[in-house]
C-alpha cells in the first residue's frame, strides 16, 4: 500500500482519487488517512446545492465552478446521485452537464452513488469533503437530490446551502414537499427563462414569510399595532434571498455568486461560521462514538443472547426496555 497522504497534500490527483475511494469504502486505509488529513482541513467554503431532479443543479454547479475559477479559487465538486434500490448499482450522470470544466487543473469532480458508501451517505460525504479540503480545494460544491433525510443531512454539512427550484415541475414547490426549504440559505429559481418563474417566486416568498416572520405593522380602529419581531437575536438575521438563474446561459450567475459571498460574510461576521463548524464536528463525533459503542456492545455479547431476549420479548415476558438493560449489563 503506497502512501497516498503525502502526495495528496502535495496536489497529486491520482492519490487523492484513490484516497477518496478508500474513504468512500470505509476501509482501514481510508479511516487512517482521515486522521492524517484532518489537521489540514477547515479552510474550504462548503456549498450544498440541492433540489428535485431536473431542476438544473448540475448545470448550476458547472456555472458556479466557472465563476469561482475566474476568481482563481480551486474548486472540488462532489456530485451525489441515487443508487438503484434493487441492484445497488447507479448511473451517475452529473458530469454530462459539467463539460465546460474539463481540462482545468483547478477543478476536481467526483461522482458518488447515494447508497454506495458503506458507512452511510452523510458520513461518507463529510469525509470526502475533508479530503478535498485537505488537498487544498478552497470551494467545495456538493450536489445532492433533495429527496430523503440522508440527502438533507448531506446538505447540512455545508456552510451555505442553495435550494434549487424550477418553474413548471408541477403545481407544488418541490422543496416544500421534500422538507428541505428550511435548510435553505439561498433559494434559487433556476430555468428562469421558462414560463411560471413569477408564480414560483410568489410561492417561495409566502413560504419564507411563514418561516422567517418579520415585524408587521398594521392599523386597526385607528390604532397602530405591531407584531413582535421574530426573535430577540441581537445578531443580524439572515433571511434567505431568492435569486433567479438560467444555468444554461449563465444569466443571473454573478448575482447568485454575490449572494453566496454575502452569506459567507454573514456567517463570519456573526460567528455563525464557527458555530456551524462546531455543530458539524459534534455530529461527526457523535456518529463515530455511537457506531463504536454499538460495535463494542455486540462484540461483547455471547452468541444467541439477542435471540433469547427477543423471544422473551415477543412472548411478552420481558419489555424491550428491561431486555436492553439486561443486555447492557451482560455486554
Amino acid at each position: 500500500m503506497p502512501d497516498l497522504i503525502t502526495p495528496t497534500l502535495a496536489g497529486d490527483k491520482l492519490s487523492l482519487s484513490r484516497l477518496l475511494s478508500h474513504i468512500e469504502n470505509d476501509s482501514e486505509e481510508g479511516i487512517r488517512a482521515l486522521d492524517s488529513l484532518f489537521p489540514h482541513t477547515g479552510k474550504a467554503h462548503l456549498i450544498g446545492v440541492t433540489g428535485a431532479p431536473g431542476t438544473g443543479k448540475s448545470s448550476l454547479v458547472n456555472r458556479l465552478a466557472l465563476q469561482f475559477r475566474s476568481q482563481g479559487r480551486r474548486v472540488a465538486i462532489l456530485a451525489v446521485d441515487p443508487s438503484s434500490p434493487f441492484t445497488g448499482g447507479a448511473v451517475l450522470g452529473d458530469r454530462v452537464r459539467m463539460r465546460d470544466l474539463s481540462g482545468d487543473p483547478g477543478i476536481f469532480i467526483r461522482s458518488m452513488a447515494s447508497r454506495g458508501s458503506l458507512g452511510g451517505l452523510a458520513a461518507a460525504s463529510a469525509a470526502m469533503t475533508q479530503a478535498f479540503d485537505a488537498a487544498g480545494y478552497e470551494v467545495i460544491l456538493i450536489e445532492t437530490v433533495g429527496a430523503g433525510q440522508s440527502e438533507v443531512d448531506v446538505a447540512r454539512l455545508a456552510h451555505t446551502t442553495l435550494v434549487v427550484e424550477a418553474p413548471g415541475l408541477g403545481d407544488d414547490i418541490q422543496a416544500i414537499k421534500a422538507g428541505i426549504l428550511e435548510i435553505a440559505d439561498i433559494l434559487v429559481i433556476n430555468k428562469a427563462d421558462r414560463p411560471g418563474a413569477d408564480s414560483t417566486e410568489r410561492a417561495l416568498k409566502t413560504m419564507l414569510e411563514l418561516a422567517h416572520p418579520v415585524e408587521k405593522v398594521f392599523q386597526h380602529h385607528g390604532k397602530t399595532f405591531r407584531t413582535p419581531a421574530a426573535t430577540a437575536n441581537p445578531a443580524p438575521l439572515w433571511v434567505p434571498p431568492i435569486r433567479r438563474s438560467v444555468a444554461t446561459t449563465g444569466e443571473g450567475l454573478p448575482e447568485l455568486l454575490e449572494a453566496i459571498e454575502q452569506h459567507a460574510a454573514h456567517l463570519r461576521l456573526t460567528g455563525e461560521w464557527q458555530k456551524r463548524d462546531k455543530a458539524r464536528l459534534e455530529t461527526e463525533l457523535e456518529l463515530i462514538v455511537r457506531e463504536a459503542l454499538f460495535a463494542q456492545f455486540f462484540a461483547g455479547l455471547a452468541p444467541g443472547v439477542i435471540e433469547e431476549h427477543l423471544q422473551q420479548i415477543q412472548r411478552r415476558n420481558l419489555s424491550p426496555r428491561e431486555a436492553a438493560r439486561q443486555l447492557l449489563r451482560e455486554a
Binding site: S17, A90, G93, R110, A113, G116
Partner: protein, 132 residues
C-alpha cells in the same frame, strides 16, 4: 476489497451523433450492480482520461461508431498510462473491423464488441475480468 462496487466510466468519444447504445449499456451495468459514471457525447481522449482519473474507475467502456477508433483508442490508452492508470480495463463497442482488433488488443483493450453483442455478454465479461 470485497465490498467495493465496480466503477465504470461510459464515454462516447468522437463526433458521431447519438448515444442510445452507450445508454443501454450504462443501464445494463447499473442493473448488474455496478456504478456507472456517464459522461455523454463528444468526449475527447483527454476528457475521458481526466474523468477516469478523478473518478478512480476500474473500467472504461467506449462506444465508437464513427470509425475513428484507431485514432481515439490508442490515445486514450496512452493518457491512462501517463496518469498511472494502466490497470484500468478498457472495453470497446461499435463498428470495429476484424482486422483492427489485434492492434487494439495490443494497445491494451480488454474486450471488443460489435453492434450485435448482447449487454449480458458485456456484463459477464467485465465481471469475469475482476474475478481472477
Amino acid at each position: 476489497m470485497t465490498n467495493r462496487k465496480i466503477r465504470v466510466l461510459v464515454a462516447k468519444p468522437g463526433l458521431d451523433g447519438h448515444d442510445r447504445g452507450a445508454k443501454v449499456v450504462a443501464r445494463a451495468l447499473r442493473d448488474a450492480g455496478m456504478e456507472v459514471i456517464y459522461t455523454g457525447l463528444r468526449q475527447t481522449p483527454e476528457m475521458i482520461a481526466e474523468a477516469a482519473l478523478q473518478e478512480d474507475v476500474d473500467v472504461i467502456g467506449l462506444s465508437i461508431l464513427s470509425g475513428a477508433h484507431m485514432a481515439l483508442v490508442p490515445r486514450v490508452m496512452e493518457l491512462l498510462k501517463a496518469n498511472g492508470q494502466e490497470t484500468v480495463k478498457v472495453f470497446l463497442g461499435g463498428i470495429i473491423p476484424d482486422e483492427d482488433i489485434p492492434t487494439l488488443r495490443q494497445v491494451g483493450v480488454t474486450g471488443v464488441y460489435g453492434p450485435g453483442a448482447s449487454t449480458d455478454q458485456i456484463v459477464t465479461d467485465i465481471q469475469a475480468s475482476f474475478a481472477a
